[in-house]
């Protein structure tokens, strides 16, 4: 039996093997619609591949490192990236490769094709997977087609697809992917038609663009729209603001090309063509018995149907989350705009806000004014924290976009090799740590100076050292306040302690040099012409994204420090009144007492501790390998910022999430363990910069590991072993 099933051999019984897209195309062909020549590669080929190579179990092991429910989507993205790389680096078994290449060659020879996903369950009335899996247009030659089949298979495991299947309660372990290979019809114009508008089911909507459909589907090219009243056939044309460009086949892919000005001046469809598409949409609706979303293209006057699927939004009450999942993928253009906004507006505004707070003289405010100032600072901090989540976190996609481009081009064994090309960009927290190391180096070489620092005789310090210390405090000092347990701007105590600790040990050797330059060169050699420029632009964006992943924490950290400073002043005043303040007293209680001298602040009620005769201890915990290396040492578990003050050289930093203020101690640490998961999070990036073993995404890390436990961090496998 041939591996490929041509459209005219497809029967309803084959649906579970070939997926909805292939089945619909077969039905369209059998009902007389003009569809491009196509064949299905059923799930049997996918299953043969993942079983013969052991990929099936490797994928499930990857996904089972943690409860799916407990995974942050960054961790899901990381898992998806690793799985995608498994497909890129695991060749087909020789017999399957030979059979598949022969079947593909026999089907399409050297003609250009589209390689499309057709997951069973996809495009059914219950679930629309539209856009969740990959399709590749304009692929030519059996070998290239087979490579793209692997990419379509891999897209079964994209983060968006994983999340969406989870949402629908579909069994992840049972999923498999079929593929449609469809001859490419290069139309002069293309578009979609909704037989009933999702917004108003009395209307049919037609959207059309010049060239291929990609621009319309991705939202890059604004289409012409026609609205047609299904009853009275009234036609309304809504032109786009302009028609600058169209997608055309180019090389082994498609590319956006400028339109001829004469073409750009008129709509892609004539009125008679609009009516032809309208009739097509009604025929498709009649053929399938439900409203349809029809994708079409026109070549030399003939309308070809590329696919048709039910419109799931009509009369469905259930809220469709798919757009949100799709939004996890961000385009280059979208990220460029985000970068401008962050660098041009948001970061300067955050700096201005922190500067303004720094000008306020808290000590001279009345109690009522201090309470109001505290409240303003809390609100500002909360506002910027929300901005951080909304705009800064998504900008991390810049790294992801580059990671995928790099992995596709290079197929590296290490799916995170691309990070090497991003690292080395100047990070603010590293600059800060270098300044600390410079102070420590002086102390290390000068016993007399070390003694003065040990005795904290600040006024007796040599002027040059004092000047550097003051300069450090001026620039970074307000960031140090959490290290001292909330004593902001109280002098150099915390910094001197840290400098001494660093000076007591030899300086940390820099991370082993990696040859980023030759990797970068090898990467660029995979591209020619305009594609190389695009690759360079994506790399540049990713480097900005990498820098911001660190720097944004510092900007937010400054605002947090201002908030803390006001609260500390409030606490100090209450203590002066003779109130005995517990560190656990919430800010709200402090502010109430500040405004009302009669009020006695209340401690929150504590959950009762249940004693158990069974004592749980961790022996070996599993997380994600986020920085290679092996280290063993005593754990320092950070439950509160004040715990950082006790951090010693050679300890292993165990925390919920590496915070900007914690990067002070990272040069002292032997390894980093973090509950929060992900390869591209702050802690992982800083650990990588210092060449430290790092494991992230360890559930319950700060509960199961205790300060003083001797632990081993296996950064290759993502394990933490407790003695």
């Amino acid at each position: 039996m041939s591996l490929l099933i041509p459209l005219d051999h497809i029967t309803p019984a084959l649906l579970p093997q070939i997926g909805g897209k292939a089945f619909v195309l077969a039905q369209l062909a059998q009902q007389g619609f003009r569809v491009p020549r196509a064949a299905s590669l059923p799930i049997a080929a996918y299953n043969a591949y993942v079983d013969a190579t052991g990929l099936r179990e490797r994928i499930l092991m990857e996904l089972n490192r943690k409860d799916f429910q407990d995974m942050r989507w960054e961790e899901i993205w990381d898992a998806a990236l690793r799985i995608r790389n498994m497909f890129l680096t695991t060749p087909l078994p020789a017999d399957l490769a030979a059979a598949l290449t022969a079947a593909v060659h026999e089907f399409c020879g050297d003609a250009a094709v589209a390689v499309r996903s057709s997951a069973p369950g996809e495009d059914s009335a219950q679930a629309s997977f539209a856009g969740l899996h990959e399709s590749y247009v304009n692929v030519r030659g059996a070998e290239a087609i087979v490579q793209h089949i692997l990419l379509v298979w891999a897209s079964l495991w994209s983060d968006a697809a994983l999340l969406y299947r989870q949402e629908l309660g579909l069994d992840v372990a049972a999923s498999a992917m079929a593929v449609v290979i469809q001859e490419l019809v290069t139309g002069e114009c293309s578009g979609v038609a909704f037989s009933r508008s999702p917004a108003d089911d009395t209307q049919t909507v037609i959207e059309a663009v010049y060239g291929l459909n990609q621009g319309l589907v991705d939202g890059v090219v604004e289409p012409d729209r026609w609205l047609i009243d299904r009853q009275n056939r009234r036609l309304t044309h809504v032109p786009p603001s302009s028609r600058p460009a169209a997608y055309q086949p180019e090389g082994q892919t498609v590319a956006l090309r400028d339109l001829d000005p004469r073409q750009a001046a008129r709509p892609p469809l004539t009125e008679s063509q609009v009516w032809e598409i309208f009739a097509l949409a009604q025929q498709a609706e009649a053929a399938f018995g439900s409203p349809q979303d029809v994708e079409w293209t026109i070549r030399q006057g003939d309308v070809h149907v590329l696919q048709s699927r039910p419109i799931t939004t009509v009369a469905t009450e259930k809220k469709d989350q798919r757009p949100w999942y799709l939004s996890l993928r961000r385009s280059f253009a979208n990220l460029q705009m985000l970068r401008q906004r962050i660098e041009g507006e948001l970061l300067p505004a955050m700096t201005a806000a922190a500067d303004a707070f720094q000008q306020e003289d808290l000590a001279n405010l009345s109690d009522a004014d201090l309470a109001a100032a505290s409240q303003r600072r809390r609100e500002a901090y909360n506002h910027w924290k929300a901005v951080y989540w909304r705009d800064f976190i998504p900008f991390a996609h810049g790294m992801r976009l580059f990671g995928q481009l790099y992995n596709d081009a290079m197929r590296p064994q290490d799916p995170y090799e691309f990070m090497t090309l991003l690292a080395g960009a100047p990070l603010a927290s590293l600059a800060r740590n270098r300044r600390l190391e410079a102070l420590a180096a002086q102390v290390r070489q000068d016993a007399a100076l070390a003694e003065l620092v040990r005795q904290r005789r600040v006024s007796a310090l040599p002027p040059e050292f004092q000047r550097e210390l003051d300069e450090f405090l001026r620039q970074f000092g307000d960031l140090s306040c959490p290290v001292t347990g909330g004593q902001c701007q109280q002098g150099p105590e915390a910094i001197l302690r840290l400098v001494l600790e660093m000076a007591d040990h030899p300086p940390r050797a820099a991370a082993p040099p990696v040859d980023a330059a030759s990797l970068t060169q090898a990467f660029f050699e995979k591209f020619t012409g305009s594609k190389r420029q695009e690759a360079a632009a994506i790399l540049e964006l990713a480097q900005a994204s990498y820098r911001l992943r660190d720097d944004d924490n510092l900007y937010l950290g400054r605002l947090e420090a201002q908030k803390t400073a006001a609260m500390n002043e409030a606490r100090r005043r209450l203590q002066d009144r003779g109130l005995d303040l517990s560190a656990e007293l919430p800010d709200d209680e402090i502010l109430k007492a500040l405004q009302n001298p009669a009020y006695v602040p209340q401690l929150p009620e504590k959950a009762e501790q249940t004693s158990s005769a069974v004592i749980e201890q961790a022996r070996q915990l599993i997380g994600q390998p986020a920085g290679p290396g092996l280290a063993r040492g005593p754990a320092r578990v950070i439950q509160a910022f004040a715990d950082l003050a006790d951090f010693h050289h050679g300890e292993i930093l165990v925390c919920d999430a590496v915070d900007p203020n914690m990067t002070f101690v990272v040069p002292l640490a032997a390894a980093v363990v973090e509950r929060r998961g992900g390869m591209l999070i702050h802690g992982a990036i800083i650990a990588r910069e210092y060449g430290l073993p790092c494991v992230t995404g360890v559930a319950d890390a700060t509960r199961l590991i205790h300060t003083g436990d001797t632990i081993t961090v296996d950064g290759y496998l993502g394990l933490v072993i407790i003695d």
Binding site: G54, R56, E57, L63, R619, Q620, L621, I622
Partner: protein
């Protein structure tokens, strides 16, 4: 964690990952030693009501019985493997360590009934005068799941 259906009452007080394995599994691997040479045997087991005792039966002429007479320290491995590739992401393995004693006297009838409720086909074997009912008093459970996650549970005496 094990996905098998629980057919026996779950001992209270233990984490679900442990109690569900104890309830769902019927066979365990017993490790003893003879002068330092490890010896492993497959045994049918049942958990005591609180999950702190693991019961198995053996003839008094068996090698494991002799080994345990010489040194009562032993370990039992209880797992949910299905001898398939899927074990790597699905299976959980529980190791129990502690001293083993032979159950005699007033306890025997009650614990034998408990053991036979789970292993009814061993009635003749257990009731034979040559068969000893043994109990491992669990001091430590070690639960491995997700291929490499290992948690230890110390049971206070």
């Amino acid at each position: 964690m094990t996905t098998e259906k629980i057919r026996h009452p779950v001992p209270p007080g233990l984490p679900h990952g442990i109690s569900s394995l104890l309830a769902a599994q019927h066979l365990a691997v017993l490790a003893t030693h003879h002068q330092g040479q490890p010896h492993v045997s497959l045994v049918a087991f049942a958990a005591g009501p609180d999950g702190r005792q693991l019961l198995f039966a053996t003839t008094r002429t068996s090698r494991k019985y002799a080994n345990l007479q010489a040194d009562p320290r032993a370990a039992l491995l209880i797992d949910s493997r299905g001898q398939a590739a899927a074990d790597f992401h699905e299976a959980a393995a529980l190791s129990a360590k502690g001293p083993v004693r032979e159950v005699t006297g007033a306890d025997r009838d009650g614990l034998a009934a408990l053991f036979l409720a789970k292993q009814p086909h061993l009635r003749e074997f257990v009731n034979s005068p040559t068969c000893a009912l043994m109990a491992l008093q669990v001091q430590v459970y070690e639960l491995a799941s997700r291929f490499q996650q290992v948690l230890t549970y110390r049971l206070s005496p």
